[in-house]
Amino acid sequence: AQSVTQPDARVTVSEGASLQLRCKYSYFGTPYLFWYVQYPRQGLQLLLKYYPGDPVVQGVNGFEAEFSKSNSSFHLRKASVHWSDWAVYFCAVSMDTGNYKYVFGAGTRLKVIA
């Protein structure tokens, strides 16, 4: 069965520092992978998505993620964090067929300090 693990429930970084949020998935087919962000009192918004192809995916606001089949990972990165990045980040995987099912990780709460 599909599963997604985000091992870090909370991450704190200084403004201007680099960021990596980790995501590990379990799925034996071809995964479609997503990062969504949830700002306070809002729904989730897409940051970026991976479809089979180039393993490095660029997203909005300077975010990027790298797919690794050998490590079953899809880590999110940003070179320089801004205070407005303070939010909860969710990794999700979807199957490679016409199936409804997304599986979401538990989320990583990012705090940005001065």
Binding site: R41, G43, L44, Y100
Partner: protein, 113 residues
Amino acid sequence: GGIITQTPKFLIGQEGQKLTLKCQQNFNHDTMYWYRQDSGKGLRLIYYSITENDLQKGDLSEGYDASREKKSSFSLTVTSAQKNEMAVFLCASSIGLGQNTLYFGAGTRLSVL
């Protein structure tokens, strides 16, 4: 662009009460979803619908009913609210199934006294 509107934003109910949450989208998307979000957990799928009048159960459907009478709207009913229950219910839509991007509403926050 489009928008997903969820009503109400906040819902306070009594134990055993039947409660209805509503969702409207103007993306003209075929597929709509209801997710439950609990603190510290990922989103869990309650119901989804691939077209008007279609309903499919998700992993968490027990205790809920859903209705999709129009393409643009999808409602969720908590059939009997559980005491001290607190959760956020998120509605989403997408063009089709599977690997398409989900577009979310801002959520309905439920508290049961």
